[in-house]
């Protein structure tokens, strides 16, 4: 691949091993700044592992990862976050007795104005900062379509969908330049999915490049600029969404060789619907 000066994320020759078995092998791809990039592939094909490799949660056996032209292969996860990588997790974290404000404070960490010394020695200023932070939390909850009454609720009392949206809000507070979202629509109701659509499009205009792992093809097709298909740890196809998803090898990877005929009808339906 030719060097692309605009690459927000550049993955080169990445190989990840789990007990000698390659969960990812020879992965090369560039995510261009400003595009919506989507990863699809059957269960266990290595999508989450690829997000982990980019965000620093799994060691690479081979290869390199660059963020905005800087090699971060040896950087740890929190250092990559400092360089603009944000992410959510596939299943929302079970921090039972923490409150929504706590989780949002974790996300705000990199931009949190509330220093310990300030909280000790300037309590009145701290009160003002608290109001500012509170306002910021209300705004970000609004962005993800949640009412601000949730602010002081315990995380354990939220629905699955609300919890996932709060986690996206948490990630947004870090003001990432690239946001990795691992199956964001799974378990969401239709209203929440529509909201998510809006959020992802808003990210782009706000200067953040979204990278999604997504099962929901309907959701992805008119949102993605490019789609990468993973299969058994390898990059099977990469390109414009509709064309890529209807390539024979992609259909085969999903449905097996016999699935091809059945797919022809499904593909037709998708065409007529639009």
């Amino acid at each position: 691949m030719s060097p692309d000066p605009d690459a927000a994320v550049r993955v080169r020759g990445v190989r990840v091993l789990f007990g000698g078995v390659a969960a990812l092998d020879r992965i090369d791809l560039d995510v261009v700044e400003g595009e919506v990039f989507v990863l699809v592939g059957p269960n266990g094909s290595g999508k989450t592992t690829l997000l982990n490799a980019v965000s620093g949660f799994v060691p690479l056996a081979e290869g390199s990862v660059e963020l905005f032209g800087e090699d971060v292969t040896r950087r740890r996860a929190h250092q990559r976050a400092d360089r603009g990588i944000g992410r959510t997790f596939q299943s929302p974290r079970a921090l039972q007795s923490a409150r929504v404000t706590d989780l949002l404070s974790f996300g705000l960490y990199r931009h949190d104005p509330r220093s310990w010394a300030g909280e000790v020695f300037r309590p009145l200023r701290a009160l003002r900062l608290d109001r500012q932070v509170d306002e910021r939390f209300r705004t970000v909850l609004d962005t993800v379509g949640l009412p601000d009454e949730l602010l002081h609720e315990e995380l354990g009392s939220l629905s699955h969908g609300q919890m996932k949206m709060v986690d996206i809000a948490r990630a947004l507070l870090g003001e990432p330049r690239v946001l990795l979202l691992d199956e964001p629509t799974s378990g969401l109701n239709q209203g929440e999915i529509d909201k998510l659509h809006e959020i992802v499009q808003g990210l782009r205009t706000g200067g953040c490049t979204p990278v999604l792992v997504e099962h929901n093809v309907q959701f992805v097709v008119d949102l993605a600029d490019r789609i990468a298909v993973l299969h058994q740890g390898e990059l099977l196809a990469l390109g414009e969404p509709r064309a890529t998803l209807s390539r024979d090898e992609v259909v085969e990877a999903y449905l097996g060789p016999k699935g091809r005929l059945a797919h022809r009808d499904g593909g037709h339906q998708a065409e007529t619907r639009n």
Binding site: R76, A81, R87, R93, D102, R114, E119
Partner: protein, 331 residues
């Protein structure tokens, strides 16, 4: 409507007003109603164990590091302060500062282990440190007096002011506790505090948010160590005699229980639990033979009905109260 009312209540109950008011009321109550020197001694112990437990609450309740070394760290503070006053005739304030620093270093050393090994082994490291220190106290007879401990610690004088009466000692302990409480509340409300909490609650989520979990764990260990060191130095002034038995594993478990019963991460819960558990362990346990059994069963029952400790109970009550209020307002 209820929300805004709650908001203004929260503002008034905030640092520093809440702490100043709490301090004033506590000192007044103690001065008015606690007379016997044995009761004042109990108040001193409550305040000092609360202080050491606030430190452990930073290490365990916030950073999630299960340590049984806090009594050892407190012992180091106590012995350091006591020996500096006896052998070097240093004034208390200087001895206190050195004790705080020494305890911070020991606690930092323990904290280093947390950066390298998994949490299951961490508790064993803290156990080893506690044992090693207790052996050191017993074996270095020339310095520490071995089993006999160190006696003849000069009574508390700060800036020429004699504070060695039971009431003055209790007030000093209470003032120190409230300062420590205030600083711990400020930490919990700050960026660093949220980072420490995140690292304890979910390290992966924390790292994904740009939080340097290792560094903050280390910082939490150092900070928690200072609390134990200061508590140890004042403890030396309370007893004027220190022996290795004052900081046994039993004391480590008492401090641990205070944090757990108080509700992990809650400073107010920790202080409340310290008052209750020190009262029980000094009163009930000493007076009756079935005391220890009742105490043990009581703790089990509390942990079963209220797994989030006193803080969890308080939250539930607040929520129930809020709901009742809301219904009233709606009508």
């Amino acid at each position: 409507m209820v929300a805004t009312a709650m908001q203004s209540v929260r503002t008034v109950l905030r640092r520093p007003y809440a702490h100043l008011a709490g301090l004033a009321i506590t000192v007044l109550v103690v001065q008015q109603f606690v007379e016997s020197s044995s009761s004042l001694f109990l108040v001193q112990l409550m305040a000092l164990y609360a202080l050491a437990a606030l430190g452990l609450n930073i290490i365990l309740g916030m950073a999630g590091l299960l340590s049984v070394a806090q009594a050892a760290v407190m012992a180091l503070g106590g012995y350091t302060a006591g020996l500096l006053m006896i052998k070097a005739q240093l004034p208390f304030v200087v001895a206190l500062l050195v004790a705080g620093a020494a305890s911070a270093v020991l606690s930092a050393f323990v904290g280093l282990a947390a950066l390298r090994i998994s949490s299951h082994y961490f508790i064993l490291v803290t156990l080893a440190v506690a044992e090693a220190l207790s052996l050191l106290l017993i074996n270095e007879e020339d310095l520490t007096g071995g089993y006999n401990g160190i006696g003849g610690i000069p009574p508390l004088v700060i800036g020429g002011l004699d504070l060695s009466s039971p009431l003055a000692l209790a007030v000093v302990a209470i003032v120190t506790l409230f300062i420590g409480w205030y600083v711990a509340d400020a930490l919990a409300a700050s960026r660093s505090g949220h980072g420490i909490h995140a690292g304890g609650a979910d390290p992966q989520l924390a790292m994904a948010s740009g939080i340097n979990v290792a560094r903050l764990r280390f910082g939490a260990s150092v900070t928690g160590g200072v609390y134990a060191g200061v508590a140890g130095a004042l403890y030396a002034e309370t007893l004027l005699y220190l022996g290795p038995g004052d900081f046994s594993l039993g004391k480590a478990l008492l401090i641990l229980l205070i944090v757990v019963i108080g509700g992990m991460g809650s400073n107010a819960g920790t202080v409340a639990a310290a008052v209750i558990l020190v009262y029980l362990s000094e009163g009930l346990l000493r007076l009756t033979t079935v005391g220890p059994l009742v105490y043990g069963l009581g703790i089990m029952v509390i942990l079963v009905i209220a797994p989030n400790g006193l803080d969890g109970v308080a939250r539930r009550l607040r929520r129930a109260f809020g709901r009742i209020l809301e219904r009233r307002v709606a009508r």
